[in-house]
């Protein structure tokens, strides 16, 4: 069964450092997303990406965040200067051209120290 894959599974980084989280969405999907879940809280939407541009972003997704689809398969989330409050599980997700079901990856656990 096709799946969304994410790397790394866990990353520890110092405050102020840049982090890049990587994702390979399901092949032939066209819509890509990043969500996050801070420990003990809800899963929150960060950003959606379609046709090589951001289609929607939340208030969390400020200038410190950026997304990119550098080639035909990868989808990345960059946090330019990490803060302690960025510590969370980050989920990449994708959706096909039809239907409204979004499929999630296993997550990348980011710890900022």
């Amino acid at each position: 069964e096709p799946e969304v894959t994410q790397t790394p599974s866990h990353q520890v980084t110092q405050m102020g450092q840049e982090v890049i989280l990587r994702c390979v969405p399901i092949s032939n999907h066209l819509y890509f997303y990043w969500y996050r879940q801070i420990l003990g809280q809800k899963v929150e939407f960060l950003v959606s990406f379609y046709n090589n541009e951001i289609s929607e972003k939340s208030e969390i997704f400020d200038d410190q965040f950026s997304v990119e689809r550098p080639d035909g398969s990868n989808f990345t989330l960059k946090i330019r200067s990490t803060k302690l409050e960025d510590s969370a599980m980050y989920f990449c997700a994708s959706k096909g051209a039809f239907g409204n079901t979004i499929y999630f990856g296993e997550g990348s656990w980011l710890t900022v120290v």
Binding site: V4, Q6, Y31, Y33, Y35, K42, V43, E44, F45, S48, Y50, S55, E56, M89, F91, K95, N100, T101, I102, Y103, F104, G105, E106, G107, W109
Partner: protein, 114 residues
Amino acid sequence: DQQVKQNSPSLSVQEGRISILNCDYTNSMFDYFLWYKKYPAEGPTFLISISSIKDKNEDGRFTVFLNKSAKHLSLHIVPSQPGDSAVYFCAASRYSGNTGKLIFGQGTTLQVKP
């Protein structure tokens, strides 16, 4: 953001019995609803969905009911199995908006006892 609420943080059920998980929403613009199952340190796994043009959708042991007038949906699992023990999230979206942005509830932890 309290647009989607799961008011029961936990539910415990005996194996073989029915599990009923509930979800309420406030935004009448939502027209597509999904249930996800999640284990600790893993991503949400899609279970079942329902469009607002239906009031019921069934897939094996899982049935989702939608009551639009009450802005309420529920997930029924029959019969419940110990492997169903996990956190269950409901999520809502606006299909017509088509960015696919999902708004999640807080989750309900289901424990199925053997």
